[in-house]
Amino acid sequence: MTEAKKEKFIVPIGPQHPALKEPGNFEFTVDGEIVTDATVRLGFVHRGIEKACETRNYTQDMYLLERVCGICSHVHATAFVLGVEKLAGVQAPPRAEAIRVLAAELERIHSHLLWFGVAAHEAGFDTLFMYTWRDREVVMDILETLSGSRVHYSVNILGGVKIDIDQKLSDLIKKDMDFLEERTEHYMKVVTTDETFLGRTRGIGTLSRDRAKLLGAVGPTARASGVKRDVRVNAPYSGYKEFPVKMVIDQTGDLEARFVVRLKELYESYRLIREILEKIQPGEISTRIKRKIPEGEVISRVEAPRGELFYFIKSNGTEMPDRVKVRTPSLCNWGTITDVAVGHKLADMPMLLAGIDPCFSCNDRMVEIRSDSQPSQMMNWDGLRKYGIEYYK
């Protein structure tokens, strides 16, 4: 009709938006309620970690990389440590490997429960959100008692682990696993039978197997579409060689399938944790490793709660790495959103975004200050700090 009618109506979601717990920008072009186009813009929390790694030694890097993500901190450290150990030709003792897997699975439980709560919140199901987070506290408490911190457990050191488990802890964990398993069964019932919830998940955001493969989806997103991608099974690393896991696959590919896959993975984690606690061998928990890592390149792949985490580490024979490349799983799954979004309703977007369990873990502490009077200027961290101090003087 008129020009105005033809004009695109774009709904921005982010960088600051209640649906996103972290900054990211999505622009959805809508026609009424129907989405016709979608674009992604990332990098709002780019902290330049890859660059920063080049000026720190391996031990410091491990802690830095652990802080790439606040939810899956352990897997980042594990991926890095495994890579460095491979470069140095050191093998961590079996007990250390088992404890790494234990921490990784506990982390998976907390991450999946967190995601479950967030997804429920996006669906406007706040009660479910509160309940899952209440139950998530159980696993958070375990992690805190086990390692001493709720978020950054810092279980790893180069060549082993820092913490050990004893009988008392093991009994505590087993008891809590029973409780969580019971709760998960209940949530499974909610997710698969509650009519109002199914209205928001069934048949929404269906990603076919071929599409998922082509777009390079990883983790539960891919597995919900029937793509067999799980590093723990495909290329067992660390303690997963001794304690194998079963891959959870669903064929439907819609949001409901993603819920089901993640909840089923929780069962698998509970089982694995019990098995580790039963069968863990006594022994050393760390070996010594040289400060200087021999020259070489290594690839380290780890299955994070969100999918495959990829590390490429290049060493030049000094105490500091030459290059560390981090490819987080969320990055692969962005493509699936922009692909699937078209044709859905705006109301489904938060659910779709939550469906891949996004985690904005990128780079530099860089702030762009825009004002009408001055041309935009760039500030680095020091400059910004000075600016802040001056401003509030």
């Binding site: 491990m62 652990e66 309940y131 086990l146 001493g148 039978t193 509650d194």
Partner: protein
């Protein structure tokens, strides 16, 4: 197919104690292993400086008072510390430990975030020296 699957939970939640608590009034006890504020024992330290070298956040500064008699003062910055306990791991003489006491970190002044550990006379000596004009102690950067 069902509607209101959560009804049972609602009833249960209504009649049981809430899962959250009124935070500043009721507090939970910190677990034994909690990695809180760093504690330094100057008697055991031999000054290998490993803790300072490997600290990922430059939270530790070990200042030498007398190298031969092994007298050191540690300037610790809890605001920079990431509580990773790498220093505790590295220290072979067990002079570093993480206590589970400090777990609320909020302060209106910067002073709270500069903690000195060491023999009292050493600290006094260092502070005095820093106060003198001309001789500058290495700044906190």
């Amino acid at each position: 197919m069902a509607i209101g699957v959560l009804f049972g939970d609602l009833v249960k939640a209504f009649f049981t104690k809430p899962a959250t608590q009124n935070y500043p009034f009721t507090k939970t006890i910190a677990p034994e292993r909690l990695r809180g504020k760093l504690v330094y024992d100057p008697e055991k330290c031999i000054g290998c400086m490993l803790c300072m070298k490997d600290c990922p956040s430059n939270a530790i500064e070990l200042l030498t008072v007398d190298k031969i008699n092994k007298r050191f003062v540690m300037r610790y910055h809890p605001d920079r510390c990431v509580f990773c306990a790498q220093c505790v791991q590295l220290c072979r003489f067990n002079c570093l430990n993480m206590s589970n006491s400090l777990w609320e970190m909020a302060s209106t002044s910067k002073e709270a975030f500069e903690v000195y550990y060491g023999r009292e006379e050493d600290i006094a000596f260092l502070l005095e020296r820093a106060a003198q004009p001309g001789i500058n102690e290495p700044p906190c950067e």
